[in-house]
């Protein structure tokens, strides 16, 4: 699952390609809407998108208030339609719920780029940039399987993110599927809420529930700070912890190698930034120069690589601060 | 006691030209009041004359709009209640303003707790409270008891204890006797006597003229926010003069007597052996149309409980209530109202009125369906009818849209009466119907009650004023400790007879039960 990250992938805010695609062109008005930036990853999404837009003097980015209320997010898109923007980059709180309004935008001739959480109709977006939530779970599970090395008695625990989100379900499913392949299962599972505090709370209870753990996968590095604090409070060292999302804090910890945290699975926080870039190309009717294909692709699925001490330096520079 | 007015004692308090306006009303319009040390100064006036407002100005509860206050000859301003309390003015308010959730002792010492470094000395407070209550003749009220569980009389005693605890130079009492029975009024007067001899001054407000004769030294009469007479001797001014001063008219014949004989028909209301644990038991009586039954007894005897149970506001443990041959559903107020019962509850503020709503809406509360079709109310006819009902009991000011909270105490009482007049019920239960009502209005209410009876309504009346019960009712039931100790025609017994029967009952039960607190 590794290695497919293109130049337009995780590092795009850093490297600038040298084709004429980056030359200033017609003014492009892009509307951007995402869920509330209530945790580091989501904050980084918006921040990266804004930073990306700033690099082009022909992009006028309109950022709507981050919200977890689909009704409000729908009205933000409606406002963009009223404003007759050229493109909309939309990270929906709930992909299915935003499908109708996204179609409305497409019907109004606006290019919609769907980020991270997929619409349920192919007509609702011109292009979709996806992180791979299921793949994240698979990566984490595969890493555990590798480490377990055939021992089927290992105890595996999981600290999920907000349990009511489909993405959490996808991650857990991937994790479970990968574990099943090597005969392991999730022995204990709790859900936190992507915040430091909830991570600490969930982990405290989990560590009580499971007196001995071998592997612990935590979905989100934001809440991971809290999880690590709980582990430290409980004085537990016997297991290996794998993180999720790939924050800079966690990568530094992996590099330092002095905690139970040994790896993390990246979930790129640059998806929206890439989407901005794609939106600009689409509006200016350009193509992706690195591909031989003339058109910008319909779907871009970013990979979910595992970061360990060995390759941490490659990823640290593009990691988000949480 | 020798006449104090003869000697020119310098006044302790002088209020001159006091003006207080509320949105839309000039409650005080240049009132003068002079109080000397060691006197009981009575304040008289009709409902809404401005008595309570005046003493609220004095106690710092209301900011004054105009006028001056001299305290021992010095100009002073009572900006807030604390300032007045600090200067030496303690007040017993008309509306019992106690904190239900706190204990008796805590209420008494609220705002001047016995404490060291902010830490309360509960034992001290309880001890002092016990002493104060004993002085007031009520050692049975435990200082640790929660005030909310006391009867209104008990609360009144606590309010008095609270005022005494302030060791003030002036103690203002706004209708303290309204909820007390004769025994307790005697106790109160004894305390007032003691206070007077210790040099404190009392401002005493009451609608009962006989009390003013017994206790007052001088009096001031208010009418429509103005002082109409001051410096009158309390004992020697004739009742007719006083009523004339207060109302501008003469009022006579306090208790209107029955003009026609009672019709011999079957009873409208039959109460059969109802009882509730620890409150009352085995209470039975019948009321025929046009008949008035009075329940006499001391405060706390359980009379309110009895009529609330008849009304369905409390669930009877035993017994039945029948109206017009139909048995009422136990513990269901709405079925009682449906069957034609009405109740003017004892605590008008908490049980009777929606304080922040308009007068007419309070009056029509029990008759909403009558002024609606298919659930859609007809505001105009409802308001008109309610207004008419308000007029018939003379609610002042004559403004159906007024918010109840801004009415004077007596006028609030009239609104509750008007509610059941509007509903024109068959059986009316009245719990202390004239509490806080002025002489003039009281005569009107008496006439009204008589009129209702004559028109065939069956009435049950509870009052702590034994003369009132005897004067109004055809038959009287004396209640003591939750039991009927006497049942007979009202002209066969007088006030002392009633008290005798209660005391006789008390003696037997206290022997059995010991402490009957």
């Amino acid at each position: 699952t590794n290695g497919s990250s293109s130049d337009d992938g995780a590092n795009s805010t850093v490297d600038k390609s040298n084709t004429d695609n980056d030359k200033s062109g017609d003014k492009v008005v892009i509307g951007f809407s995402a869920p509330a930036a209530d945790h580091g990853w989501m904050g980084a999404i918006t921040k990266n998108a804004v930073a990306q837009a700033k690099q082009y003097d022909d992009i006028d980015l309109k950022v709507a208030e981050g919200t977890n209320d689909v009704n409000l997010q729908i009205s933000q898109v409606e406002t963009f339609i009223n404003d007759k923007v050229d493109a909309i980059v939309l990270l929906p709180f709930d992909g299915a719920a935003m499908t109708a309004v996204a179609r409305k935008a497409m019907d109004a001739g606006i290019i919609v780029i769907n980020v991270d959480r997929e619409f349920d109709s192919p007509f609702a977006a011109r292009t979709t940039v996806l992180g791979d939530n299921y793949g994240m779970g698979v990566s984490a599970g595969t890493y555990v399987c590798d480490k377990a090395n055939g021992d089927k008695n290992k105890v595996v625990a999981e600290i999920a993110g907000i349990d009511s989100l489909p993405l959490t379900q996808d991650r857990s499913r991937g994790f479970k599927d990968a574990l099943t392949k090597c005969g392991l299962k999730v022995n204990n599972r709790v859900a936190a809420e992507f915040t430091v505090e909830s991570g600490e709370k969930a982990a405290s209870n989990l560590l009580q529930a499971a007196p001995k753990i071998d592997y612990l996968w935590n979905h989100d590095d934001d809440q991971g700070v809290g999880v690590l604090a709980a582990i430290k409070n409980a004085n537990r060292k016997e297991f290996v912890m794998i993180g999720g999302a790939g924050s800079a804090n966690v990568m530094r910890a992996i590099k330092a190698d002095n905690t139970v945290l040994k790896a993390t699975v990246i979930y790129p926080s640059t998806q929206a930034a890439d989407a901005i870039k794609l939106a600009r190309l689409l509006v200016q009717k350009k193509s992706m120069s690195d591909l031989s294909e003339i058109e910008v692709p319909r779907e871009l699925k970013l990979s979910a690589p595992v970061v360990t001490k060995d390759n941490v330096d490659t990823y640290l520079k593009s990691a988000f601060e949480s | 006691m020798t006449s104090i007015t003869a000697m020119p004692t310098p006044p302790l308090l002088e209020m001159r030209g006091i003006v207080k306006e509320f949105p839309g009303v000039r409650a005080l319009d240049g009132v003068d009041l002079v109080v000397r040390p060691g006197e009981v100064h009575c304040l008289l006036g009709q409902n809404g004359a401005g008595k309570s407002t005046l003493i609220k100005v004095l106690s710092g509860a209301h900011a004054v709009d105009d006028g001056s206050i001299l305290w021992n000859g010095e100009p002073i301003s009572f900006a807030d209640p604390q300032a007045a309390l600090a200067a030496g003015v303690a007040t017993i308010y008309q509306e019992l303003d106690l904190i239900d959730g706190l204990s008796v002792a805590d209420n008494i010492f609220l705002g001047h707790e016995k404490a060291r470094g902010g830490i309360t000395r509960d034992a001290d407070m309880n001890r002092s409270a016990r002493e104060l209550l004993k002085t007031l003749g009520h050692p049975e009220i435990r200082p640790t008891r929660e005030v909310g569980s006391l009867s209104s009389a008990g609360k009144q005693i606590v309010s008095m204890a609270r005022a005494l605890s302030r060791r003030a130079q002036i103690i203002v009492m706004d209708e303290p006797s309204a909820v007390l029975d004769p025994d307790e009024v005697d106790g109160l007067f004894r305390v007032i006597g003691d206070l007077r001899s210790s040099g404190a001054a009392i401002i005493y407000i009451s609608h009962r003229l006989e009390e003013i004769r017994r206790i007052g030294d001088r009096l001031t009469v208010l009418k429509d926010g103005k002082t109409v007479a001051s410096d009158l001797p309390a004992r020697d001014t004739s009742t007719a003069d006083l009523i004339k001063l207060m109302t501008g008219a003469t009022v006579s014949s306090i208790f209107p007597r029955r003009t026609t004989g009672l019709p011999e028909v079957r009873p409208l209301l039959s109460v059969a052996a109802i009882g509730r644990d620890q409150e009352f038991d085995d209470v039975s009586f019948d009321v025929r149309p046009g008949e008035i039954i009075g329940l006499a007894g001391l405060v706390g005897a359980g009379r309110s409980e009895i009529i609330e149970t008849i009304f369905g506001a409390r669930k009877a443990a035993r017994g039945t209530v029948t109206v017009d041959g139909k048995r009422l559903r136990n513990g269901s107020v709405d079925s009682a109202v449906e069957s034609g019962l009405g109740l003017c509850p004892e605590e008008r503020k908490s049980q009777g009125l929606i304080l922040d709503d308009a007068v007419y809406r309070n009056i029509s509360l029990a008759s909403l369906d009558r002024y609606a079709r298919y659930g859609i109310s007809s505001e105009g006819s409802e308001r008109r009818a309610a207004h008419a009902a308000a007029r018939s009991v003379d609610v002042r000011p004559d403004d159906p849209d007024r918010i109840i909270r801004t009415l004077s105490g007596g006028n609030q009482q009239k609104v509750v009466l008007a509610r059941w007049l509007l509903r024109s019920c068959k059986v009316l239960l009245l719990d202390e119907p004239t509490r806080g009502v002025d002489v003039g209005a009281r005569a009107e209410i008496y006439a009204l009650i008589r009129e209702l009876a004559d028109s065939g309504v069956a009435l049950v009346i509870v009052s702590s004023d034994i003369d009132e019960v005897l004067g109004l009712s055809d038959r009287v039931l004396v209640i003591a400790d939750g039991r009927v100790v006497h049942d007979g025609p009202s002209d066969g017994i007088d006030a002392s007879g009633v008290l005798d029967r209660i005391l006789a009952e008390h003696d037997t039960t206290t022997d059995q039960k010991g402490d009957a607190a």
């Binding site: 930036a37 709507a64 208030e65 977890n68 689909v70 009704n71 729908i74 009205s75 933000q76 409606e78 406002t79 009223n82 404003d83 709180f93 709930d94 992909g95 299915a96 719920a97 499908t99 109708a100 349920d120 349990d163 009511s164 989100l165 489909p166 959490t168 | 509320f22 949105p23 209301h62 900011a63 009304f311 506001a313 107020v333 709405d334 009682a336 109202v337 449906e338 109740l343 509850p345 908490s350 049980q351 009777g352 009125l353 929606i354 304080l355 709503d357 308009a358 809406r361 509360l365 029990a366 909403l368 609606a372 659930g375 859609i376 109310s377 505001e379 849209d401 918010i403 801004t406 509610r419």
Partner: protein, 333 residues
């Protein structure tokens, strides 16, 4: 703290701000809204003042607006309901399960509408019974409902977003007769009915009485407990309606619908002038409250303000608006 409410100056306006159109109180709201619009026009010009944008604001206001109208009744009646968002979620999920949707295929999409409304009402009845007969304080009873209803919604939906396939449903509610979106029309109807119910019927009168002094209402022969159940049931019904509106807007049913509606609705109701302690309520005020909050968000969005700055500004604006409103009301009396 209520300490400051019972001061000596009493409001002169009658209890029903809506009935007497409580000019003084609503004047403050009107001024706040006008100021907001002026800011919108200055900062965003035509983008704000266009018909399209107005309709966007109304569409956004519609769903929470319907819930707020229902909440006005419960609060006027002396209660509170924290479970509205969860009820909206549960209703939307229930109405979009494959079971319901296949029934809808057979009997028409009205089945979905009915199930949403019935589920909402049922939840309201449970709330009402727990509060009126179980004597559980409204805060706790509806907090329990909040947890249970959302949990149940998650279990039923299996945490998946359920997509509505019925074209008839989306067509009907997505229609724009005379250029006005259907959900805005529903909002207007609910507001009208709500105003009428509160101010022109015995039901409304009883609501004021029950909220103003339940004991006095009881002793005047009003069935206070039953009325309380009605009030919560009514709010449940509006939640069901809101769920249908949200379903049409998102073409989905989801256990995450209606998140945070409880505070939004209560805030709109209270800003509108309904007393949180009961006995005084105004549907028109609530309408203003909802529109003001929605317009605020709209102006923020048009101006590209950062979320954090928005939050700070929102807090400050609420305080200033309420203070302003009080000044005006004081002067008028």
């Amino acid at each position: 703290m209520s300490a400051t409410d019972t001061s000596t100056t009493l409001p002169s306006t009658a209890g029903r701000g809506g009935g007497s159109l409580g000019v003084a109180r609503n004047l403050g709201l009107v001024i706040a809204l006008v100021l907001l619009c002026v800011v919108g026009i200055i900062t965003s010009g035509d983008r704000f003042a266009s018909t399209d944008n107005m309709l966007t604001i109304l569409r956004l206001a519609a769903v929470i607006g319907v819930v707020s109208i229902g909440m006005t009744f419960v609060i006027t009646g002396g209660g509170i309901d924290l479970s509205v968002g969860a009820i909206v979620a549960l209703s939307s999920v229930w109405a979009t399960t494959t079971g319901t949707q296949s029934m809808a295929d057979d009997f028409g999409w009205i089945v979905m509408v009915f199930s949403a409304v019935i589920v909402g009402t049922a939840c309201g009845v449970v709330n009402g019974v727990l509060i009126a007969y179980g004597k559980i304080v409204p805060f706790i009873a509806t907090l329990a409902m909040l947890a249970s209803a959302r949990g149940l919604a998650e279990i039923i939906a299996d945490r998946k977003t359920q997509i509505i396939t019925d074209q008839g449903f989306t067509d009907f509610f997505g229609a724009e007769p005379l250029g006005i979106p259907m959900i805005v029309i529903i909002f207007a109807l609910v507001t009208l009915v709500g105003w009428f119910l509160l101010n022109r019927t015995t039901f409304g009168r009883r609501t004021f009485a029950v909220g103003g002094n339940p004991e006095a209402a009881r002793l005047a022969g009003i069935k206070v407990q039953r009325h309380t159940v009605y009030l919560y049931a009514l709010l449940g019904t509006t939640c069901g309606i809101a769920a249908v509106m949200l379903m049409s807007r998102t073409t989905t049913g989801s256990s995450t619908h209606g998140l945070g509606y409880e505070l939004d609705a209560i805030a709109a109701v209270v800003i509108g002038g309904t007393l949180l302690s009961g006995g005084r309520g105004t549907v028109i005020g609530t309408l203003f409250g909802v529109i003001i909050f929605t317009t605020l968000t709209n102006v923020f969005t048009l101006n590209n303000l950062s979320t954090s700055a928005q939050a700070v500004a929102k807090g400050v604006i609420i305080v200033v608006a309420v203070l302003l409103q009080q000044r005006i009301a004081d002067r008028k009396t």
